[in-house]
Amino acid sequence: MTREMTGAKMVVQALKDQGVDTVFGYPGGAVLPIYDEIFLQNDIRHILVRHEQGAVHAAEGYARSTGKPGVVLVTSGPGATNAVTGLTDALLDSIPLVVLTGQVPTFMIGSDAFQEADTVGITRPCTKHNWLVKETDALAATIHEAFHVATAGRPGPVLIDIPKDVQFATGEYNGPKSNSSHYHPRVKGDLEEITELVAAIETAERPVFYTGGGVINSGAAASQLLRELVDATGIPITSTLMGLGCYPASGKNWLGMLGMHGLYEANMAMHDCDLMINIGARFDDRITGRIDAFSPNSVKAHIDIDPSSINKVIRVDIPIVGDVGHVLEDILKVWKSRGRKVNREALAKWQAQIADWRKVNCLAYTNSEKTIKPQYALQRLEELTKGHDRYVTTEVGQHQMWAAQFLGFEDPNRWMTSGGLGTMGYGFPASIGVQMAHPDALVINVAGEASWLMNMQEMGTAAQYRLPVKQFILNNERLGMVRQWQELLHGERYSHSWSESLPDFVKLAEAFGAKGILCSDPADLDDAIIEMIEYDGPVIFDCLVEKHENCFPMIPSGKAHNEMLLGEAETQGVIDSKGSVLV
C-alpha cells in the first residue's frame, strides 16, 4: 500500500497503522504540521500534558499498565530536552516508548536556530535507539522500525526527530512490513542450558526464584508460566521492585520483595540459598548489597533477553539468553518430561527455615493512636482497595518502599514505579497515563509530598480530561528517605531535607476543580480513604503522617543481605566509611 502524502500526515497514518490509540504531548513550532493532522482526525486521542516530562511519564504509565508502547509527541529544543528524564527513566526500567520530536527544518540544522537542540545527540545515551529523519520518503519506514525496536528484545524508549520541512514535504507512505528489520533478538533459550537448570532444580536443597521486571515485560503469559512452575515445584519466590505482581502476593510461595528495603525472609533466602534462579532481573545494586558477600554459596542461573545483563555484576553458572516466556515454557516442558522431580525432603526443611524467618515479622512497626503512621496508612489503603480493579503508581522515596512492602499485587501490570532511575515526579503523570488506558479502574498514586510537587502541574491535565486519579500523599513535610540517610550517615544534620512552604493541598485541589481531603487522625483514616475511593473525579488526599518514621528493614550500604537492620535500635554506627560513599 503506497500512497503520496505529507510527512505530517504520514506520522498520524503510521501511528494508526501501529494500533496507537493515545498520544501524550505538547505542541510547539516545530511540530505544528503534525498537530494540524491530529486536529483533522478522530482515531487517535491526544492528551495535552502541562510539561513534556509529564508526557513521557504518562506514556510510561500507559505502557506499563497495558504492555503496549507509549507514544509521545513534543516539539524541538526545550520540548525534547524536557523529555530527557522520562527517556532515561524508561531506558533503565525497560519500558517501550516511541517519542516523536519536532526539529528545525533540515536546512537550518546546525545554525543554532530558534528552539534548536541536537536532540539525537542529547538522547543517544538515554534511548535504546534514535533517528533523525531527513527525507520524507524515509519517514514511514523509520516510524514502523521504531515501534519494532521499542518492543522487540529488551524493550526501551526510542526517539524520532522530524525536521519541520520533512513534515511539510510529500513522500511515499508504506504500511508496516514484517521482517524489514535486521534487529531480531533471540527469544528461545539454549536447550542445553535449560536442561542443566532443570537438573539443578531437581536436586536443589535450598532453591529460590529471584524474579524481576523482565517477567512483566515478557507479557501476561510469562507470569502465568511462572506461577505454574513455582506452584508445581514449591520453590519460594521473591521479586524485585520492578517484578511485583508477576507472582501473586497471596500465593503460598511468596516471600515478598527483596533488596535494600526488602523483606527479611526474602533477603535471608537469597543469602542462604543453594540455587538462585534469576528470571528477568539484573542484579541491581539495590538488590545485591555488598557484591563479595552476595549469596556466597549458591549456584546461580540467570534468564535474561539481554546478553549484556549476564555476568555484568554477578558471575552466573547457568546463563540463559532468551525471552522469559519462551524459556519458562521450555523449562516446564523439560521438567515435566523428566518426571517433575524436586528434592521434596530438603525443600520441606527449607520451607520450614523460611517460616522461621517469617516469624521475625520484619514489617512490624509501632502504631500510634495520635498520629498516622505511614505504614498504617498503606495497610488501610490496601485493606480498603484490594477488591477493586486497582492500579498503583508511586513517586520515589520512603512512601515507595512502604507501598512495595504493604500493598499486595495479584497480577502483573498493576504496579508502576520508577525503579532504576528513581525519578521523583514520576508517579502523578504515570497515574494519568494508566487512567487513560483503564478509564474505569481505580488508579492511585502513592506519593510523598516532595515528590508530588515535582510534577504537580499535571493537575491541569487530570482536571481537563476528568481523570479520577487518586493522589494519596503521605505528607511528612520531609524528604523522608534523604532525612533517613542523613540520620544514619550524616550525624542527624538534616540539610535541606524538609518541605518548607507547602501548599494547602485541599485548596490546591479545589483550585483545579478537584477534590481535596485532609486527614491527620488515625481514627478518621478509613472514612477518608473510602471518601477518596468513592469520589468520581481527581482527588488529592493529604495524609499527614508521622514525620520521623524510618523505613525498615534496611540493608545498609556496603552490607550483605544477612546484615540487615530491622528497626531503630540497630541503627547506630552501622554504616562504615566505605559504605557511606555508596548511594
Binding site: V120, G121, R124, P125, K128, H129, L132, V149, H182, Y183, D285, T288, G289, R290, I291, D292, D306, P307, S308, I310, N311, K312, V313, I314, R315, G558, S577, K578, S580, V581, L582, V583
Partner: protein, 186 residues
C-alpha cells in the same frame, strides 16, 4: 580522608565497586564491529566506551561495503576478562551493529597499522634515519634537504619501535591510523 578505596583499573559502573570474583588481569583485545553506515553510528560506539568507562587504545573506521551500507570499526581495547565480555555484549546491543568479532579470541589475526613520521635533521643523523628506515621497510614519501617523511606499515609495536629509534634522530611529528585487523585463513 578518602572513604572509598576503589581498586585501580576497576571499571564497574555500579556504586558497589567491590568485585573480588573476577580476574584483575588486564587483557588487550582487538574487536571488529560491522555496523550500518548511518549517521551517528560512530558516536554510539564511542559514547558507549566513554559512558561506561571502557578504554579505547585505538579505533579505526571506514566504509567497507558501499552497496550493503556497512562500515567496519576496529577497536583495540584493554580490560579485565569480565570487562571485555561486557564490551562485546554492550556493542551487540547497539541497534545498527550487525556483527561483533573478538579477533583476539577468534584469531590468529593479522593486525596492521600505518604511520607517517616526519624526521628533521642533517648530517649523520639523517643518514642513520634513512638506514634504519630501510631496515624497517619504511618508505620515504617526502624529502627536503633537512627532513624526511617516512611511511611505515606494521603491527603497532613495530611502529612503536621505529618511532623510538627516530626520536633521537629528529622525530618531529607522527600520525598513526590505528589498527586495522582481519582474521587469518579462510
Amino acid at each position: 580522608m578518602s572513604a572509598l578505596h576503589i581498586k585501580k583499573g576497576s571499571t564497574s559502573h555500579s556504586a558497589y565497586n567491590l568485585r573480588p570474583n573476577f580476574s584483575d588481569v588486564q587483557e588487550r583485545h582487538t574487536i571488529a564491529v560491522l555496523v550500518e553506515n548511518e549517521p551517528g553510528v560512530l558516536a554510539r560506539v564511542i559514547g558507549l566506551f566513554s559512558g561506561r568507562g571502557y578504554n579505547i587504545e585505538s579505533l579505526t573506521v571506514a566504509e567497507v561495503d558501499h552497496t550493503g551500507h556497512l562500515s567496519r570499526i576496529t577497536i583495540v581495547t584493554t580490560g579485565t576478562p569480565q570487562v571485555i565480555e561486557q564490551i562485546k555484549a554492550q556493542l551487540g546491543r547497539i541497534i545498527p551493529v550487525h556483527e561483533v568479532h573478538d579477533l583476539t579470541v577468534e584469531g590468529p589475526a593479522v593486525e596492521r597499522e600505518l604511520a607517517i613520521l616526519k624526521v628533521v635533521g642533517d648530517g649523520d643523523k639523517r643518514v642513520e634515519a634513512l638506514r634504519l628506515a630501510d631496515i624497517f621497510r619504511a618508505n620515504v614519501v617526502d624529502s627536503t634537504l633537512g627532513s624526511f617523511i617516512f611511511e611505515i606499515t606494521g603491527a603497532p609495536d613495530k611502529i612503536d619501535a621505529f618511532a623510538e629509534l627516530m626520536r633521537p634522530l629528529g622525530l618531529a611529528e607522527i600520525a598513526r591510523t590505528g589498527v586495522a585487523a582481519l582474521l587469518r585463513g579462510e
